[in-house]
Symmetry: C2
């Protein structure tokens, strides 16, 4: 057993190291360049963007599957529209960027750069939605949004320009149908998370932390290597709140009119941050094969005076893999030693490496090296497609399984604040406590724990609360509340 | 022969009608909604966006083919970076949107919303490009850009937010390699234009109309139905102009340093405007099959008391076409009459309609109706894939051929200003005139003709100018200059 002091030192190093590791990997793996001359706004590099596009392709697929239409709204919103919903403006007013001039001339109506698109979209929903036949109405877009963060910024995680922001917006003829939509959003999110091999938890946010203007908000989180949580998806039921502010009504079958019910669902480039952090290791990224721009890299290892042409052999294998629909790259750069190539592709997280030397050509074999386990094994040349497919599947499963284990081992349910405090001191992660449901109690617990309340597990677990007392006030507990230090 | 007066009336009606037709089609075909509450910023509707995405897929393909990497830069540029190149800022200063505040606080350094990305990218090129081994350096992005147009705005054509702006930026180690890049850009553009069935002309812009900061600019134009030209592509050779302003140098093989040579290539959602305008007719859009979201719409025509299931027959055909990689949709909406369906899909420009009634089911046939020629013919059920493929190819060819004929018949070369004036009065289009090459002459000719000089034909036609006199000053002509009324 380590002593508490040893543990503490280790934990702090670990935590610092993760932050350093992350910043280094953003750069070394070619994800983004942070040197753009506006703080919190970064440049997407080709490799990072290719990964993100692969993630987005899965989002587009899911949207098509569920009948959401893609739209594209302007990034600028007139002040007059932005100010129609009181809670919403209160939530965003402090961090919006204002466009005030065109050339030298001040604008008649100032414009904001969207921090999210409710106030851009809903004046149009007002025009588009006429009758019950138009409902449910489901659209989405992936766009750049702007939030002038005053906190420490971090690429993909906390930025002033979120350049890959996904938002779907729906309208329904009643609360139940909106609830069905939230369920569909959760299903979409689950499908996507599986493609990224990301296990996660969903919590219903406490009232003081819900989306500005929402009736309730759900948040999906992963746990990062330093034990802090990262929100990577949110679903909101707005009830008729925005519909009333923007006068979005529809004619019912009986001829009367009512306000629509609305929901939204949001994700962003944080998905990539989660993939990097959850799967990465000391050698660099470890990309799930599903989204890796290069699934297999082939490194020919030539030997002087050998009669065997390893480059030709590598290309032949590559062609066969390509025909089988596998994204493959042959690294035949001259004057760069194989060891250096291994190092480069490990940083970039290519899931599988194939090494071919003269002996492999001779014996009609190839060496496969897994990025996730560093396992190396020799396969028959004629079985290469089959072996590669099998190995990519195995990598996918292993990434998910080990991430799941990490997640589960970092969620602890306890009964008292003291136990919770101790957990946050020993190791970070998610701590669950019984809670009476009062905001004052919840906020005080946040302060004592120096952590945020993520909310209550969703779907709600009513059965397990019976007989528990609120960890702060001692009254009967109504909920299990999750706390975590968050990104 | 029509009289001059008749011609004039017709021409005016034609011109007015085109503008009305275009605005109506933007709305009726579901391309964009113009009612967004900021002038010159429009909402992309699902159908329009699907067409645009198909166009962009061809652009991405061409970029991959030619080794351009996709990047994504922030939309905001600090004033300090924006102001480094004098001509560039002079060209854009009057129409940039300024972000001056975050929440209530004024920003230390004001930001502009990119009107184009030279001033965002080149500070990073300065960091990225080190040696001759990094060259040629080729990147591109498709992003939203902002130009506060004071002229009359028009969807896709003249807007304050260009939401689908393509820009590629390259750096080279000498002028010749930059020139090779311009040739490659022209080849890319030509491949794309063929996919859109768009014949076009390329002109080298006069000095007073080149891109701010460019050494020279090329522009590619189509001729719209009203005879005005629309610029849909531009290529610029910057020489070392921006490289000097942004200190983009590289180490040569001999160890000395030099500034890079740069080029850019730009396109936008105007490509879609050109497709709409050039191919459309009184019944609506006519989309080239290459980019049509729906290439074939099948309309079942049920008959009461018929024993034949036309819907099942339609779906069976649809499945077969889908398997063959054809984008097909069955319009089996109930309570909407076939005639109304025909009308809807004609407006949306679906290239091919298949009608199936009980008699077709019985005789194992189907009726094909071409959108471009309105031709209808019956085909054997078992030959349907083959017939559809053949017909889609024929539509593609016909669209190109008739657009080419229109283009060529609207370019006239004459020797005198009087002839040119008469041409602009009789009919619009492009008029070519001999020109001495002096800016003063060129600008005066623009004024007299009430037209813009597009520039000189590119590649240059030196041979045909011999012996010609400048149409304005009478001195020896150095160039053929093209004039047109432009969008």
């Amino acid at each position: 057993m380590e002593t508490n002091i040893e543990q503490k030192v280790k934990r702090e190093r670990w935590s610092n190291e993760f932050s350093e590791w992350y910043n280094e990997m953003i750069e070394l793996a070619g994800i983004q360049d942070k040197r753009y001359p506006v703080k919190g706004m970064n440049v997407w590099l080709p490799y990072g963007l290719r990964i993100m596009r692969n993630i987005e392709n899965f989002i587009h697929d899911e949207m098509r599957r569920t009948g959401h239409d893609e739209v594209l709204f302007p990034a600028l919103i007139p002040e007059t529209e932005f100010e129609k919903e009181a809670e919403h403006i209160a939530g965003f007013h402090g961090e919006v960027l204002w466009v005030t001039h065109a050339g030298e001339r001040p604008l008649d109506v100032r414009l904001i750069l969207r921090p999210t698109s409710e106030t851009a979209m809903y004046p149009m929903f007002n025009l588009w939605i006429r009758s019950h036949a138009d409902l449910p109405f489901k659209v989405y877009q992936i766009v750049n949004v702007y939030r002038y963060e005053t906190k420490h910024t971090r690429p993909l995680i906390r930025v002033r320009e979120i350049s890959r922001f996904f938002e779907s917006h729906t309208a329904h003829d009643n609360f139940e149908d909106a609830e069905r939509q939230i369920k569909e959003d959760l299903e979409i999110f689950d499908n996507l998370a599986k493609k990224l091999a990301l296990p996660y938890i969903v919590s219903k946010r406490p009232d003081w932390d819900k989306f500005p203007g929402a009736f309730y908000s759900l948040g999906a989180e992963v746990i990062m290597p330093d034990g802090r949580t990262l929100q990577i998806g949110t679903m909101h039921n707005y009830k008729q709140n925005f519909a009333k502010a923007y006068e979005i009504t529809y004619e019912k079958e009986d001829g009367t009119h009512d306000y629509v019910h609305q929901t939204t669902f949001g994700m962003s480039e944080r998905l990539l941050a989660a993939v990097m952090a959850v799967h990465g290791d000391d050698n660099g990224l470890v990309l799930p094969p599903t989204i890796a721009p290069i699934q297999v890299v082939i490194v020919p290892i030539p030997m002087k005076d050998s009669p065997y042409d390893v480059n030709a052999y590598a290309k032949e294998i590559a062609e066969e893999l390509k025909r089988a629909g596998i994204r493959v790259h042959v690294d035949d750069r001259e004057e760069i030693r194989p060891g250096r190539k291994f190092y480069d592709w490990e940083i970039k997280g290519v899931p599988l490496r194939i090494e071919v030397g003269p002996r492999d050509v001779e014996s009609k074999k190839a060496v496969l090296a897994r990025r996730d386990t560093f396992e190396k094994f020799t396969v028959e040349r004629e079985k290469i497609v089959e072996e590669v497919r099998k190995t990519l599947d195995a990598i996918m499963e292993n990434l998910y399984a080990r991430a799941k284990e990490f997640l589960e081992s970092h969620i602890k349910r306890v009964d008292t604040i003291e136990e919770a405090k101790q957990l946050f001191e020993d190791r970070r992660g998610v701590v669950e406590l019984p809670w009476c449901g009062e905001e004052s109690c919840g906020v005080e617990m946040e302060e004592i724990l120096d952590a945020s309340m993520l909310g209550i597990p969703y779907p709600e677990e009513t059965a397990k609360i019976e007989g528990k007392k609120c960890a702060h006030c001692g009254k009967e507990a109504k909920y299990i509340a999750r706390f975590a230090r968050t990104y």
